[in-house]
Symmetry: C2
Subunit: 453 residues, 2 copies
């Protein structure tokens, strides 16, 4: 059986496989500080070339994308593998037990900045390709690679890159390995993200703060103005009252509902993690509200005097920031326009400012290709994967599903406690090796299904 | 006629009258910095003793009160004269055109810290007594004097002083000279102030800020909690919905309505002063809302992230400060309890904190004694005084009207542009001298009416 050959090869080569990983981990690539990023991109290119991948560095307005192709006209299916070679800054340095850019093994984990996020997973993807080639010979599907250098600073040029290279990026599925397996150790397949719209509302009263005694009841208070406006935007149960807000939301399918029910949920542990031990909801409700419903969150508000005691003023200005998570197929710009229209109607002198947005994305869990990947992941990890239709947060997944109109699966390889973005980031050696096996086996399984169709 | 004799005497002695004023102005008495306060109190005592006033320094927990009596068992009416000998700090010093503690005459004004607020008016009160004694002989009413040393730091011990010396302070009317004449130059009689209750509301969500994507819809947002609560406390027209909030408000009398109508109101000038040129209301509405109706003001609110751009969090805490101006006979503690009861009912986990309060006060404008003072002021200034039933701000006037249960009139002597609390504070020489005349003539008129009754 192919999976056994793959496993044996990985097992036999595990020490050797540390080499390319260590090479990348030793090379800084801190995108936020523009430290070593291009040097790292070149190392990734070299690694890919050694595997026979046709590779090029494609410039963007920011850090370059490493693009690669391993094509055979005989293959009918193309997999686009996505990852990133940039890392977070290592600070605070004093909290690291070893040098963040000199990998060290302790307790069967490799410690270094980027070990889990994302160099360990990127190298596992490449070594999966190597493993497949060396155990099975010819590649059964076409492969394309997009490794960007700006993920840790918000993938600021990924959308324009994808927009500009639609032809080059043509594929049948996008495959990302980033993030962590579930806390229980179960592999996870993530099919979507919530989108986001960030806005600021600013209400004005008088041109200056006024004495609340000498002018109280005379000048309007901008805080009350904002409050009155906000109460027209949302009812007490949290339902958003902006016309058309829910219009384009895709209802959950029966299958998605089943998937939500299967996701593990430990109320106590979640409650502790978020500092809200009184949390009271079922797992199904939790995942539905967290991943399949939009939010209408106020993330900041400021007006007047907020120090100790009291300052008796009528503030001149009140500012409030919202980040509104969106679900497919809500469009951030459409929602922004609906909010503007609502404000024009109810409080025309309140200013609405667009601060940023990201489109939501969700790949249909019932697609054949998703089931194929799930089966391969199951076999690679010896465990049935959890399939999560979407996550609560926002990532630029829409560049694949909206711009390229491709299905997208995220299959994380790193351990739950990888400590990404933190000191002592690590990847368990077991996870690194499982990632290699998984990549090779996913390639194999997709190839098998492609041949059968 | 007595008023002519008074005027002539003041006119003849104006140069000499500058002496005691200069003496006080040269003596620092900055209560906020405890600089020279007691030395100044002693100077005031000396001045009073020279007039034959029995004087004592009464200690408080803070700066002492200079108390004086000029009593004659034959008199049936007692006037309690109130003022303060402390001043604001002079900073910013570089903005003064002359030394703030070395009085200088320019353009018929005396410039010095305290010239208008309140040493110039306090000395005018004392020189009014001197003028009366020297022109008319025997004092026709009893006089008591309370000159405090903490007015500029909020009269923090005045209430306890009055509470502890109720017997000593027995009188028929309290007479204060502080503040400014109307902009038009008209003398003003102020009969009351709004009270105040300051509170803080604090709502809690989770124990810590949470990521708005990874936890959005799961933990409650304390800003929404506060907003929902506040909307139960007040309707969109500004009407307060807290049960019993308006219960004890004394309705305006017909006479008070007439007084409000007579108060000068220049919409354009008020609009410019408060930075709200679009102000649109009649003078009567302006004074009614500003002085005879309570407010429900939010003076500050803070939660979450308020810097540039966006931080996608669900804040753990939201804090909001209110100062609620009150009118007679709303009681701040009663209102506080009503707010607490309301919050207990609608958002029991929101914390309500008492930050401070002051009782409202309003002397009945139709009292005979008020009319007597108004008549005397009219004659002294050659102009009918504006009678304002209350001002928008809050002063501890209740110590006279509530603790001593006395009527209280405030008759300001300083010019409108005295620049109190600012650099280049001043009093017009004309205002200083008119204040002396006014004090003497008020004494005379009160004495005449007392004899007739």
């Amino acid at each position: 059986m192919s999976i056994e050959k793959i496993r044996d090869f990985v097992s036999a080569n595990q020490l050797e496989f540390l080499d390319p990983l260590y090479t990348l981990l030793r090379q800084k690539s801190i995108s936020a500080q523009n430290d070593g990023v291009v040097d790292c991109a070149n190392l990734v290119m070299e690694m890919m070339k050694e595997l026979g991948i046709t590779t090029q560095l494609i410039e963007t307005e920011g850090h370059p994308v490493v693009f690669g192709e391993l094509m055979d006209p005989a293959n009918t299916f193309t997999l686009l593998i996505y990852g990133h070679y940039d890392v977070q800054p290592p600070e605070p340095l004093e909290k690291w037990e070893s040098n963040p850019f000199e990998p060290e093994i302790r307790n069967a984990r490799i410690y270094a900045r980027g070990a889990g996020d994302n160099k360990g997973q990127l190298v596992a993807q490449l070594l999966g390709v190597k493993t497949y080639l060396e155990t099975m010979g010819k590649m059964p599907i076409n492969l394309k690679f997009v490794f960007e250098g700006e993920e840790e600073i918000g993938s600021i040029h990924l959308a324009s890159f994808v927009e500009q290279h639609k032809e080059l990026l043509k594929a049948d599925l996008v495959y990302t390995s980033d993030g962590s397996l579930h806390e229980s150790g179960s592999p996870t397949i993530l099919l979507g993200v919530r989108g986001m719209l960030a806005i600021e509302l600013e209400a004005k009263g008088a041109d200056r703060d006024n004495h609340s005694g000498n002018n109280g009841n005379i000048v309007p208070n901008p805080v009350w103005k904002l409050l009155d406006l906000l109460e027209t935007m949302r009812d007490k149960n949290g339902k958003v009252l902006i016309e058309g807000f829910y219009d384009n939301i895709l209802p959950l399918t029966e299958y998605e509902k089943q998937l939500l029910k299967k996701l593990p949920f430990d109320k106590k542990s979640v409650g502790e993690k978020i500092g809200y031990p009184q949390l009271e909801m079922s797992g199904e409700t939790y995942y539905r509200k967290l991943t399949m419903e939009p939010t209408f969150n106020i993330c900041g508000v400021e007006s007047g005097y907020t120090g100790e005691g009291i300052k008796t003023i009528i503030p001149s200005t009140a500012r409030l920031k919202m980040d509104i998570r969106l679900v497919v197929n809500q469009d951030p710009i459409d929602i922004f326009n609906k909010i503007k229209a609502h404000v024009s109607l109810h409080a025309p002198d309140v200013q609405v400012t667009y601060l940023g947005s990201m489109e939501p994305s969700r790949t249909n869990a019932e697609l054949e290709v998703v089931k194929t990947v799930a089966q391969a992941v199951h076999q690679a990890f010896h465990t049935e994967p959890l399939i999560q239709p979407a996550m609560g947060g926002s990532l630029p997944n829409y560049v694949w599903t909206k711009i390229l109109e491709l299905p997208s699966v995220i299959v994380p390889y790193a351990n739950f406690d990888q400590g990404n973005h933190s000191p002592n980031e690590n990847i368990k050696i077991h996870n690194f090796l499982s990632g290699i096996v998984c990549t090779a086996h996913v390639i194999h399984t997709l190839g098998k299904v492609a041949r059968e169709n």
